[in-house]
Symmetry: C2
Subunit: 189 residues, 2 copies
Amino acid sequence: MSPRQMARPGGRSARVQEAVHTAVRELLAEVGREALTVPMVAQRAGVTPSTVYRRWGDLAELLSDVAVERLRPDTEPEDRGGLRADLTAWAEQFLDEMASASGRAYVRDALLGDPDGGNAGQCSAYAADQLGLVLARARARGEDTPEVETAMDRLVAPLMYRILFRPSGLTPAYARHLVTDLLGTPDGA
Amino acid sequence: MSPRQMARPGGRSARVQEAVHTAVRELLAEVGREALTVPMVAQRAGVTPSTVYRRWGDLAELLSDVAVERLRPDTEPEDRGGLRADLTAWAEQFLDEMASASGRAYVRDALLGDPDGGNAGQCSAYAADQLGLVLARARARGEDTPEVETAMDRLVAPLMYRILFRPSGLTPAYARHLVTDLLGTPDGA
């Protein structure tokens, strides 16, 4: 278990984490990623640099932790009353958030300061949980639904692959195309 | 255009690039990524550190360039006489190479030190070119073939997504499942 995982419980530990994360978010907005340093973050958070190094290892790991917090969905997927509409709305919003300049920076940060893969796995779990909710709602309505893993392969993976490797041409139409490819052409189309 | 793109032509420039890339590959094997520094690379390559900084900006950009070179396929995809067999062999090999410890490290390096996205785009172009060859061969045989972009979305994207975000459970059987999902169940199965 990494030091930062052991440091997760409440009390002082939680307050330090909150102060340091807040300092990182503020400084990213004020000075940008290139200029950010651990001593700068520590000063803003009111802790010593060694507290930061002890807990996060280095700046990349700290940025990765902050990024995962920022990438956590803060609402349930919208319920539009049908699987196709729900998946389309979800995929368009996922693309919109992840393909933005800040979304891409957070995804890269999450991946890069993540030696044990825990943060990347957490990002993927967020997407799988959201899709799981959409699909469970559709099943409860009696709709035919693909498995979550199939939806991960057919929606999330191509969106994220293109965000990371081929960011041009990422449009809402592409997200809708992936939904059609997953569910088939709608009746009457 | 970035400094390293301007430095690509032959002559002394090409010799410096070759020496520096070789030094990085040797030192990665000898001392590992964590211990690697620009002065160490420069000394091994017989150039000054400022030559390296001028040309590559920083260590991350240098590692990204070296990674892209390492990820370039050095052979054409194997011809097994049929699309399903060719795609299966290609997907299994792609997974084998990219999901290895060194493959994953190169993919992360390629993404990390790549502010303008050119190296990530190059990695993706390698895969698209290889799939394009496999699909063109199948078309020449008169087989029904998907588009390259569809094969990117259905094979490369899920493999790379899982390599980066969910490395457990990546097996040859998963690669074969993706091929079946792309081409449909084989006749007689």
